[in-house]
């Protein structure tokens, strides 16, 4: 591929964003006009400009709440993903363990976190722990399933090749299984990154003295929808940034052509 080709691709990539941006701006405009025209009370639906002013005035204090939520989300993400990766490695090498434990993973996945969160708050109080645990639980399953799938995504012939080379199990693992799994692992991590933020916020609903979830709950008690929306905007911004950081990490790690799953 030539440099000129890459250049035009970047430009056309920008061009594909243009309709999305225009649509987004148009939607905000319609929202603003509709609220003004119908005279919708602020406590039901604030105007876009009011949310913007709230963000401007309260920006710094809201940002400090966001930082706290993101800390919980990132810690949970790291813990959950690491545990999931290790579990996947064990599952792939020991079928019996997989048979015994996978049902538990499914149970864990099907219990609504909204139900576990209050329990964890009772156990651990208004601390960081319940939030991190909830974020970890919510990250666990997608990373587990994708990683296990990735570690298995090796061809029989590649295994035979390693066998012809008399490769040890550790060599098969590090030189074949792990690289093959990376695109799948990142697919799982990308899902987990957005879920982690949601998990942290849900846990904050059940008992917290700071964080975006705390902001949202407080605002809703006071019918302060401006602040509520400002919280929503920030939490979604946090999720988007996290998601894109994982995407960046993926681009730096998985560099070979044709590797990224989403591109095929």
């Amino acid at each position: 591929m030539t440099g000129a080709g890459a250049g035009t691709r970047r430009r056309s990539k920008w061009r594909t964003y243009v309709p999305a941006i225009l649509l987004f701006l148009a939607a905000l405009g319609i929202w603003e006009l509709w609220v003004v025209a119908r005279d919708v009370p602020t406590y039901l639906l604030p105007r876009v400009s009011e949310i913007g002013i709230e963000l401007g005035e309260q920006g710094w204090s809201l940002f400090r709440h966001l930082r706290w939520t993101m800390l919980e989300a990132v810690l949970g993400f790291l813990a959950g993903s690491t545990a999931a990766f290790l579990a996947a490695v064990i599952f792939v090498h020991m079928r019996a363990v997989e048979g015994a434990l996978f049902p538990w993973a499914i149970v864990l996945q099907t219990i609504p976190i909204v139900a576990i969160a209050p329990l964890l708050t009772i156990w651990f109080g208004f601390t960081l722990v319940p939030k991190v645990v909830i974020a970890a639980i919510i990250c666990f399953f997608p990373v587990l399933v994708n990683t296990a799938r990735g570690l298995r995504s090796i061809s029989a012939q590649a295994v035979e090749l390693m066998s012809v080379l008399s490769a040890r199990k550790t060599a098969v693992f590090w030189r074949l299984r792990v690289p093959s799994s990376l695109p799948y692992v990142f697919a799982g991590l990308r899902i987990a990154s957005t879920l982690a933020v949601i998990g942290a916020i849900v846990a904050e609903f059940t008992g917290a003295d700071r964080g975006i979830g705390f902001v949202i709950i407080q605002a809703s008690y006071r019918l302060d929808t401006k602040r509520l929306f400002a919280g929503l905007v920030l939490s979604s911004a946090g999720g988007i940034v996290f998601f894109n950081l994982i995407g960046l990490l993926e681009r730096l790690t998985v560099r070979w052509p044709g590797a990224r799953l989403q591109e095929s």
Partner: protein, 258 residues
């Protein structure tokens, strides 16, 4: 060789032959007669249900543990995350050449092999970025890279077009001329078998058994023009007839026309 399962399959029966060190032997036979199975048994990847194989005085799995084999599959089986050079160096990495001298040596050797198979200048490409024929050249260079005494090739050029295949045949012979390893070359092209080998082993339809072991009378080095010689055509015709009679009976002729 019998495979278990719902309906047990006898894939090979009564296959027996000896191969000299440094000999180039081609194996032909209709599809499904057990050619791949035979190579896998020899390579120590499959245990035969009956019979035995000895490779330079060892059992196949002993020989495999001593890394006596190079294996080239029908598909290249390259690692897409490694560049061309990295793929050729993979065996050295796995076999654990750690000291810097050996590493530098291995790399020089790998580059030389890539030149021999016509891939100079492509060392830093990823497999995804080169053609199927080039990928198979990389697979060949990889199999040759660690001095294996026996090269097992399972229809390595079967998926390639005729011209690429001719090219690769010539390059294979050139490289083999230098290494003189023992080669077992499975193919479904009689012409390729005769052109490359010292002997052609013809297998019958499933369960595969040896129908004929034909000596190939041509000296080396060879070039593609020997295919036009009358004795080449005669041998080709003779073996084809042998295969077609039996393949016809099984309703499963795989051997391509010349």
């Amino acid at each position: 060789m019998r495979f278990g399962g719902h309906e047990p399959i006898t894939a090979l029966e009564d296959v027996s032959f000896d191969i000299d060190d440094g000999e180039f032997v081609a194996i032909v036979g209709p599809s499904g007669c057990g050619k791949s199975t035979l190579l896998r048994i020899i390579a120590g990847l499959l245990e035969p249900t009956a019979g035995s194989v000895t490779v330079r005085g060892k059992t196949p799995s002993e020989a495999r543990r001593d890394v006596e084999f190079g294996f080239v599959f029908q598909s290249p089986v390259l690692f897409p995350w490694l560049r061309v050079l990295g793929n050729v160096l993979l065996p050295d990495r796995i076999l654990g050449k750690r000291n810097p001298l050996a590493v530098a040596d291995a790399e020089r050797h790998a580059r030389g092999l890539l030149r021999d198979v016509g891939l100079e200048g492509f060392e830093e490409y990823y497999p995804e970025q080169i053609s199927g024929g080039m990928q198979q050249r990389v697979a060949l260079a990889r199999a040759l890279s660690y001095g294996a005494s026996t090269l097992l090739m399972d229809e390595p050029f079967g998926a390639l077009d005729e011209f690429t295949r001719d090219n690769l045949n010539i390059q294979l012979l050139e490289v083999w001329q230098q290494t003189r390893s023992t080669v077992l070359f499975v193919t479904h092209s009689l012409q390729e078998a005769i052109f490359l080998s010292d002997r052609v082993v013809v297998l019958s339809p499933r369960p595969g058994s040896v129908m004929r072991i034909a000596d190939v009378p041509f000296g080396r080095p060879r070039d593609l023009t020997i295919r036009y010689r009358p004795d080449f055509a005669a041998l080709n015709g003779e073996l084809r007839e042998l295969l077609q009679i039996d393949a016809g009976a099984a309703g499963d002729g795989e051997v391509a026309p010349p």
